[in-house]
């Protein structure tokens, strides 16, 4: 009888008797089990059956998802809009590269250290949030994006400017991590840990303070939440995620330059958060997956279109199509489903659950 109850599907109402039950991550044991099955499939099947190209895409999704989760903590939970996330990602990448090349530090230390350095940088650029909010803060982070970009390019002695830095392959216990499959484990173990951390931080007092600040900062202050401290903390955590992801990316890409860390990247991260679902940790992963796949698909499509007779004979350049579709996707999601993929996923699940009596 006990086992039957524990393995229940969704109850048809809210039968919570304790506050603890409200905080459960998985509403049913069914969800817990299916998550375990999914993770097992991810770790024990996916890396061994997928082609290297597919693994490359998966790895990219994993890295980008870590950064997107961080941005979701800042935007989705704390309500502070940052247009500098791409630059923080770059700071993490450069921090890891410099630690690894200048000081010869192993990746297991360099990656978290890069995260912490980025968290400090993020907190510095979060200081304006003490006085500013809303669109003024957004503009301040936009300025932060340009300033960091400038520093990365111009601080030659440290970042080698436009030349870029090449990283040594990560090594642990004499075993070299190289190739897509080895990186897959490194990236996805990090992603699982970071997701676990993010989901749990939202359930603590810190997470609840973030949500209070998002929903009404004046009321939060009135309730005794020191909003400036918590906003800084949120900037710090979100930049830690960005820096961590950036460091992973630097190792994965082997050599880095300043080019990718521009405003476009920041915009892409915000797009992931919105498309995935604001204030939803799995949503950030959905968003990262969606945008990465969209980018790959569009690259593939424009590649095909370039070779179609009519297009080439007219001399059309199809590359900007990517930009157009990217913009259109953001606009459509905002207009049609502002809660993003996470909400769509919830609707699909509940329509299965409630079938055939949907009310």
């Amino acid at each position: 009888m006990k086992i039957m109850r524990k393995f229940s599907f969704h109850p048809c109402g809210n039968y919570h008797e304790e506050y603890r039950q409200e905080l459960n991550i998985f509403e049913t044991d069914f969800g817990r089990v299916s998550m375990c099955v999914f993770l097992a499939a991810l770790f024990f099947v996916a890396p061994f059956v997928l082609s290297p190209y597919m693994l490359y895409i998966l790895n990219t999704i994993g890295i980008v998802a870590i950064a997107a989760i961080g941005l979701n903590i800042l935007i989705g939970y704390t309500g502070q809009i940052s247009l500098g996330h791409g630059a923080f990602f770059g700071v993490g990448a450069y921090a890891a590269a410099i630690l690894a090349t200048r000081f010869g530090i192993g990746f297991y230390f360099a990656i978290p250290a890069a995260g912490i350095i980025t968290a400090l940088v993020g907190m510095i650029f979060g200081i304006p949030s003490g006085r500013l909010k809303g669109l003024y803060l957004t503009i301040a982070t936009l300025a932060g994006q340009f300033i960091i970009e400038y520093v990365l390019i111009q601080w030659d002695s440290l970042t080698k400017g436009t030349m870029g830095i090449t990283l040594p392959p990560p090594e642990i216990f004499g075993w070299q991590i190289s190739g897509d499959r080895a990186f897959f484990f490194m990236i996805f173990i990090s992603l699982v840990l970071m997701t676990w951390f993010a989901v749990n931080i939202i359930r603590t007092k810190y997470g609840r303070a973030f949500i209070a600040i998002r929903d009404n900062d004046r009321a939060a202050e009135g309730m005794g939440i020191p909003i400036f401290r918590y906003k800084l903390l949120s900037f710090g955590i979100s930049s830690f995620y960005a820096g961590f992801a950036g460091a992973l990316w630097a190792y994965y890409m082997v050599s880095i330059t300043t080019e990718p860390f521009n405003l476009g990247l920041s915009v892409e991260y915000i797009a992931m958060v919105i498309i995935g679902g604001m204030g939803n940790i799995p949503g950030a992963i959905f968003g990262a997956t969606f945008i990465t796949l969209l980018n790959e698909l569009l690259r593939f499509l424009t590649g095909i279109l370039m070779n179609v007779g009519i297009v080439t004979s007219l001399g059309l350049n199809m590359a900007p199509l990517k930009e157009f579709v990217f913009g259109l996707t953001i606009v459509l999601f905002i207009l049609i489903e502002p809660k993003g993929l996470a909400e769509m996923w919830r609707i699909i699940r509940s329509s299965f659950r409630l079938w055939p009596f949907s009310y």
Binding site: E221, V267, P320, I330, L335
Partner: protein, 292 residues
């Protein structure tokens, strides 16, 4: 000394351009408090529409100019109707990201049609409009810019101060709900303000195109330069936009001339952060007081 004077004149000219491109941005903010990240692309659309009308359609300049303005006015309506109206009362991030998405769409569209090349308009401004003060010569384009910006400044100043529509716009920007409850037709005000702002943006796009040539990447990057300008001048002050533009322009050319050319592009943003910390509402902006 001559170098200094040269930089001064250059700075003021560049600054005027920033100022005039910031005017449309301020218009939108003042009337709907939307931070328009697609502003640079609106400039580019205006410039390219004008280009298409005078080179492909071979229309006379005056006709093309008027047609472009009408086209942009309608475009403003369309943007408001289809994209921003559903977002009335929505969270700030959705509005910001919608304009970012629009920016990306417009840029992609322009690149698809015209590509990333630099185009120039045929010469049409009379040589007599150029001004000469001693050794300093001001090209006809700049004096035209000056005249246009003064006209717009006066017109919009009067519009927002005196006309009923202008006052409605300010009330909507200040507090949508309160304006709605006092009987202001918020949707109409939004539509009109976007139309006017798009018109102003297109016109400044044309002016920029005459001076620098027409190129999507240049024009859309000016859309981002607008931020330091309007924050310095005050987000809702049209006069402030011009003055902020001139200050930022001077700052850029002087840092470029005396310190280092690479610092030139980032200096406005460093100043921006300082202004935001010290005087977030800028020189002439309306101060919103909120005490917690």
């Amino acid at each position: 000394m001559e170098f200094f004077l040269q930089l001064l004149v250059n700075g003021i000219c560049v600054g005027l351009l920033y100022g005039i491109s910031a005017m449309g941005f301020v218009m939108i903010f003042k009337s709907s408090s939307v931070l328009n990240f697609a502003h640079g692309e609106l400039l580019a659309l205006g410039a390219f529409l004008f280009l298409a009308l005078i080179t492909w359609a071979q229309l006379p300049v005056a006709v093309a100019f008027v047609l472009t303005l009408i086209g942009c006015f309608l475009l403003g309506f369309v943007i408001e109707k289809f994209f921003l109206r559903p977002l009335i009362g929505e969270k700030l991030i959705f509005v910001i990201m919608l304009t970012v998405g629009l920016a990306s769409m417009f840029k992609g569209l322009i690149l698809l049609i015209w590509g990333g090349n630099l185009y120039t308009y045929p010469d049409f401004l009379p040589e007599t409009m150029g001004l000469k003060f001693g050794a300093i010569y001001i090209a006809p384009v700049y004096s035209a810019t000056l005249i246009i910006s003064v006209i717009f400044l006066v017109l919009f100043g009067l519009f927002f101060k005196k006309s009923a529509q202008g006052i409605y716009m300010r009330s909507v920007a200040d507090n949508q709900k309160a304006a709605l409850s006092l009987g202001v037709h918020v949707r109409r005000v939004f539509a009109l303000s976007w139309a006017i702002a798009a018109l102003v943006a297109c016109m400044s796009g044309i002016v920029l195109g005459i001076i620098n040539g027409v190129n999507v990447h240049d024009l859309s990057s000016i859309g981002l330069k607008v931020f330091p300008v309007v924050i310095l001048g005050g987000l809702d002050s049209i006069g402030g936009a011009i003055i902020g533009g001139i200050i930022i322009g001077l700052l850029e050319t002087f840092t470029g001339g005396y310190l280092s050319p690479s610092l030139r592009d980032v200096v406005p943003y460093i100043v921006l952060v300082f202004i935001l910390m010290v005087k977030p509402y800028g020189l002439f902006g309306l101060v919103e007081i909120e005490r917690v």
